[in-house]
Symmetry: C2
Subunit: 490 residues, 2 copies
């Protein structure tokens, strides 16, 4: 295993690609913009899915599955939705191939042209609201709290593994409610679930807030979001939760009989996180030795590497290792015993470091004599020799400390890279260097667009609670109702 | 809840549709041939996924994810594969829509035509073997044991919910091996996993065997399968495991360095089961009152319905119900307390019967006085009044008995509908009535095809162990190496 990867300092973007590649997380496929998620990368996604799925179910949501294809005309039904999505999508026009005339290949059978083209879903509001029309008659059918795990396709010109790919995996929640208040409450509930997941599982601190109209989801009345700061000072939108008002209910004619016996349009939310989170996880914590994973999302939490010269030493070590494995499994800690005889210990150390396994145990003949084990933690790269007694309990606590430490490190980093500025020059200076920049904004889309054109920074979010700290827009000098958060973003 | 559904006797096909509809399992969508899997149907699929996923992982397989799209030219690389699949698929030709000239809709942007069309995967051998070329260099990289949970699309002209839909969900395993023997062993390992799953989880007895060349997977050397018998006497192929030989390795040029330092083509398998299993589950066990679910796959295993007139009665019953729920949850039994005040008990009974919940508990004021509970089982519709003591243990045992009884019932049905025949007249008679018919066959595709043309019956499988019972083909009179299993099939 060639350990060397580009350092963050040298080339952050290449460092990211190196980790994705060398940790075996994903790779580009033969289909432009589509990635192959390799087993180790997919195992991280499965851990994320499992935690999120439980959080959704614990709050009353159910999973379902809706078609991959959406008839083209459905997109035209919600005016802003079509603007935002229909322009960048995969279009199915035919349903059959036939052998070419020279008999050597296959060609599209022109006789099998669809009457109406089908769009591969870029998001499923249209097909789902078309379905909800039949599911919702009265207030008794509400709320409808449904989530879907699925693949979606958005034709992207510039792609990056996990962060922006033509096809990606995600979950999309689509809920229907009696009242505006209830739908808003749902959108905020999900926002909090996303923030909790990011902080407690991914060990990635996030800011919560609202998107400005320019950055809002196409078809939403309000978009709530969580934003995280990556190590290069760029922001990453890690999840969005949309309050859709009655837009989709109107577009797809979904009305319900109220408790007062009136017909009204249903209120809606939609919300999603995607495999992009794997990219965020990599960029938030990893270092120049490779991936660093928070224990709660690590497919392998502990690896045991034996050091031996003779076969009988390996046997004795194996026995000890298996005893430890049993103890750890009893505490629901996932553990791998790396007894491959085709690789040397140094190679194995580098490989598991690259793959971000939180804890490495090394056992040699001396350890057997002394009743000890060498414990190395991936986050700090510190090693210590511990007595074997209660090793499972010690490791369980160590994993908790690592989870905590990774979060604290990311939190401190964000703290050190968060600025509050009052002038345009200060703003440009800080934005250039990277980080979250709190600044006054006059609330207009024009100013936001101009700032973006001049600095590449966008408004990442408007805080949920404005703190009453009014002031003057850093760009226009016009009155501002409170600071918003700017950053350059992925 | 309208309880009435068409009886099996009256119209088996309508009975099936009624159950899918009234139990809330799935429905047709606005996209021709694509279904919406509703929450209750999806919950059954999730239970299946979870059990199968564990079985795959326990035998060393890992999950990964490969692209939805496959370049058209990939299909031409394996000659028989293209014959079998490329003819019935969704073809993506464009990657953008634009606003129509009248501004009212969207149309395909002809400027955004793909250089090479993309096929929505009908199965992923092609894209996966294109990927494996880079993953496999030497015997050290083998075996490669990978599974994918995904959606696939096969353009079907006549669709039925779960049984045959244009888009469906499935898992597809794709493994690579050093030797022919190892690949064959893998294909049989998976066959046994599928059979175990069908029998122990779905409570559905299956026959294991090999497909005849006519029924083989397009691109396989051998196709192993499991076949189940539905209540109308038709067979249903419930899972297939293919030994692909070196066909795909040759087509995609995947060679490995052997232990003897030679370059050789890799040996392959692929295998899959799909949401079709939900259809099989429905048809195998349900009755004229609705769905019957084996407890191991029931999203809700126990429902508790309170009987009360006064609010304080409900309160007392609720207290008892919650105590029982805690006990049951402690035994990993899923339970729902149906305290909806908008519906009467009779309505609730019918609804949960329709949805196939294995055990229903009814608690009324009299039960509270007597320390009893009424227990009804869905499979036999029997009711009994039990003492509340150790109710959790009693229910756990009851669920096991129900699981077992459902299997035994299906087993007896199959037994009663399995025949061995020696003449063509007997054959036609039995095939017409339905069931598995064991008969001699001369081993030729021509005879198989003629029998199919004349009776609609196909060879469901050739037994793995031929019993040495040679004879004469029921159709041609030519020598046969042993009986094979015929049936009309879904």
């Amino acid at each position: 295993m060639a350990k060397e990867i580009t350092s963050r300092k040298e080339n952050y973007s290449q460092w990211y690609n190196d980790i994705v590649n060398k940790a075996g997380l994903a790779e580009n496929s033969s289909v432009r913009g589509c990635m192959v998620i390799k087993p180790y990368g997919y195992a991280i996604w499965e851990k994320m899915q499992s935690a999120l799925d439980k959080m959704f179910k614990d709050t009353g949501h159910e999973n379902a599955y809706f078609p991959l294809f959406i008839p083209k005309s459905f997109f035209s039904k919600e005016a802003s939705h079509v603007e935002g999505f229909a322009k960048e999508c995969a279009v199915v026009t035919h349903y059959r191939l036939k052998t070419s005339e020279d008999g050597k290949g296959v060609i599209v059978d022109e006789d099998a042209k669809l009457e109406e083209e089908l769009i591969v879903r870029p998001t499923s509001e249209a097909i789902i609201w078309d379905t909800y029309r039949n599911w919702i008659q009265s207030y008794r059918d509400l709320p409808l709290l449904i989530n879907q795990w699925a693949n979606v396709v958005r034709w992207e010109m510039r792609t990056r593994l996990f962060l922006r790919t033509t096809e990606f995996l995600w979950q999309e929640g689509h809920t229907a409610h009696e009242t505006r208040e209830e739908a808003l409450k749902e959108a905020e509930l999900i926002l909090n679930i996303y923030a909790d997941f990011a902080e407690k599982w991914m060990a990635m601190p996030v800011l919560k807030g609202l998107k400005s109209p320019n950055e809002r989801f196409a078809g939403a009345v309000e978009t709530f979001c969580i934003e995280a700061l990556m190590q290069d000072g760029k922001a990453l939108q890690a999840g969005t939760s949309h309050f859709l008002g009655q837009n989709f209910a109107r577009a797809f004619d979904v009305k319900y009989l109220t408790r007062e016996n009136k017909l009204e349009y249903v209120w809606a939310t939609s919300w999603g996180v995607s495999t992009r989170l794997v990219g965020a996880l990599i960029m938030a914590h990893s270092d120049d030795n490779g991936l660093v994973l928070p224990p709660k999302l690590a497919p392998i939490q502990v690896v045991i590497v034996p050091i031996y010269k003779k076969e009988e030493q390996l046997e004795a070590i194996s026995q000890k290792a298996h005893a430890i494995m049993e103890q750890l499994k009893g505490r629901n800690i996932s553990v791998k015993f790396d007894d491959r005889d085709t690789y040397k210990p140094g190679f194995k150390f580098a490989e598991w470091e690259m793959k971000g396994v939180p804890v490495r145990l090394v056992i040699g003949p001396r350890d057997l004599e002394n009743g000890t084990v060498e414990v190395a933690r991936r986050d700090t790269l510190e090693k210590e020799v511990l007595k074997m007694e209660n090793i499972d309990e010690k490791i369980e606590h160590l994993l908790e400390r690592i989870q905590d430490n990774i979060f604290q490190k990311a939190f401190s980093f964000r703290d050190e890279n968060t600025f509050s500025v009052d002038t345009w020059d200060e703003f440009k200076d800080k934005i250039e260097k990277g980080g979250f920049v709190w600044a006054h904004w006059d609330g207009t889309s024009e100013t936001e667009q101009t700032i973006k054109d001049e600095t590449k920074a966008t408004i990442r979010l408007i805080p949920l609670q404005r703190d009453g700290d009014t002031g003057k827009c850093i760009y226009s000098g016009k009155p501002s109702e409170g600071r918003v958060v700017f950053a350059k973003a992925y």
